[in-house]
Amino acid sequence: MGIVKEMHLVEDLHNVNSKPTRDGYGEALLILGETNPKVVVMDADLAKSTRTVWFREKFPEKFIDMGIAEQDMLATAGGLALGGMIPFCSTYGVFVAGRAWDQIRTTICYGEFNVKIGGMHGGISVGPDGATHQSLEEVPLMRVLPGMTVFSPTDAIEGRKVALFAAEHIGPTYIRYGREAVPIITTEETPFNPWKAEVYRTGDDVAIIAAGTLVYEGLLAAEELAKEGIEARVINCHTIKPMDIETIVNAAKECGAIVTAEEHSVIGGLGGAVAEVICQHYPVPMRIIGIEDRFGESGEPEELMKAFGMSAENIIKNVKEVLDMKE
């Protein structure tokens, strides 16, 4: 029981560096600018924020600023893909998954065009900008689309690995990034298999299945729970679609109880996706941690995360509740 060595996570969870996951997107694009001649980067007037400004400075000829016009950006990306390029569309999650949804649905997904979407500012930790800019709804909007692959990386390193993989993968891809600096828990050596949910900590009492920065909170929660004799399995489910059914079902079978955690609405996100798998393959008691059915609000990221239950404490509370249900 405990942290899985082969995952090569940081040595001390209480002494970690932090970085926004969106930095990983910007770093990956810089690499792709050198290595993949088909990659072009599109942005809708948010280049600094989406970190595409790094690419723009180095490869201005392959950078397309679309102005504040997300619908045009996404359908244009479809045409670029049709013409043989690999476009990375970059803006905030609300503006792309919301405003340009029909372009993503009909032009990109129905047409099976090879378009990549970097959706920034997912989650409540966006902070002071408030509800208009805090995207809590992209996951169901994107995963309902046939052919769409949906990633939610846990830290900046994984965020880079995901974007690099997206350029190799053929098909529409959505990557959910965050604004705020969050703990870097993986290392360069941490294996990244896009089609696998990774078990970061073993345990047979309960499974904590998390995505994004909640993986870190899940590991902290598991550490505390172990002191009380509760062994929690912690799974980084960075790929929300297609879901690694085998790993999720094994967790249900071997642990008998599941708690999901994500910085997203409790409706239709990672929790919903896991529930769809569990209820059909191996029903066990389950709790979904996320933003309850409501919009966010302004505040400092840290206080919002706490207020909205995006914490190890809340995971521990839910684990205990689900263990009661199990018995």
């Binding site: 072009v40 392959k62 397309i64 679309m66 102005g67 016009a69 619908q71 045009d72 996404l74 359908a75 244009t76 990306a77 479809g78 045409g79 670029l80 893909a81 049709l82 013409g83 043989g84 390029m85 476009p87 029909d102 372009q103 649905r105 009909t106 032009t107 129905y110 047409g111 099976e112 065009f113």
Partner: protein, 280 residues
């Protein structure tokens, strides 16, 4: 550039295509008669005189691209593609039926010669811009053609795309607006006025050409002119009659999304055959 096909040859083909269209719609029992009949000369000018294409190899590297942004008039496009040899004419009679390669709105994964899936209005011009940019990135001379409806231009995203094409000086794009003055709910100028359409596109920094959308010579000339324009995209505003060629469908709002029943079908075919005889 001279016409590859004479006006008389093409006018004859247009009538043949109109017969195909009413037959397809009658067999399907649904579909968009008005816009399909009205856009025939535009499509024929492009596919017989202008566009570089290879029906035996739809993915030909050197092809020009055509995007039907007003996807609902695909019966006309399908009839054109069949007659040019992309697929058998027999397929036309399966339009809108389960398992058909001819979907109710164009889907490029089903139909040879169809480049993108359209039907949700307001996306085709952006798709065209993307292709035009991709050609430029790869230093390819391929051109991009796009057909929009006039009602479709009410979609805000069309104007976003209008800005993009002009901003990036995409002179490898030539779009056409099928200006038939009608949309589902009525006359465009009563539903949501578009005029002055020409001045709007000029103000968006496009090269604009006005033509009679049923005159294949004028249309071909406009597309030839577009090829000579540098630093700007071209918009051809083609004045058309919705339902052209079948008297009781012409200019009738109610025929936007309707198919002829058996009696109407016979009447339409008789009119078209008469027109064919007159043409000689």
């Amino acid at each position: 550039m001279p016409m590859k096909y004479s006006k008389k040859e093409l006018d004859k083909i247009c009538i043949e295509l109109r017969k195909d269209i009413v037959t397809m719609l009658n067999k399907a029992g649904s579909g968009h008669a008005g816009g399909s009949l009205g856009s025939v000369e535009i499509l024929v000018s492009l596919y017989w005189n202008v566009i570089k294409h290879n029906p035996k190899n739809p993915e030909w590297e050197e092809r020009d691209y055509f995007i039907l942004s007003k996807g609902h008039v695909c019966p006309a496009w399908y009839a054109v593609l069949a007659r040019r040899g992309y697929f058998s004419r027999e397929e036309l009679w399966t339009l809108r039926k389960f398992g058909s390669i001819l979907q109710g709105h164009p889907h490029h994964l089903k139909t040879p010669g169809v480049e993108a899936s359209t039907g949700s209005l307001g996306q085709g011009l952006s798709i065209s811009n993307g292709i035009a940019m991709a050609m430029r990135f790869q230093n390819k001379p391929n051109r991009v053609y796009c057909l929009l409806g006039d009602g479709e231009v009410q979609e805000g995203a069309v104007w976003e795309a209008g800005m993009t094409a002009a901003h990036y000086k995409l002179d490898n794009i030539c779009a056409t607006i099928d200006r038939n003055m009608l949309q589902i709910d009525g006359i465009t100028e009563e539903v949501m006025g578009l005029e002055n359409l020409e001045e709007k596109w000029r103000a968006f920094n496009w090269h604009v050409i006005n033509v009679d959308g049923h005159n294949v010579e004028e249309l071909t000339k406009a597309y030839d002119e577009a090829m000579t324009v540098k630093g700007k995209p071209t918009m051809v505003i083609a004045k058309t009659v919705k339902g052209k060629g079948v008297s009781f469908i012409e200019n009738q709002v109610d025929w936007h999304g309707k198919a002829p029943n058996d009696e109407e079908y016979k009447k339409a075919m008789a009119e078209l055959e008469e027109a064919e005889r007159r043409l000689g």
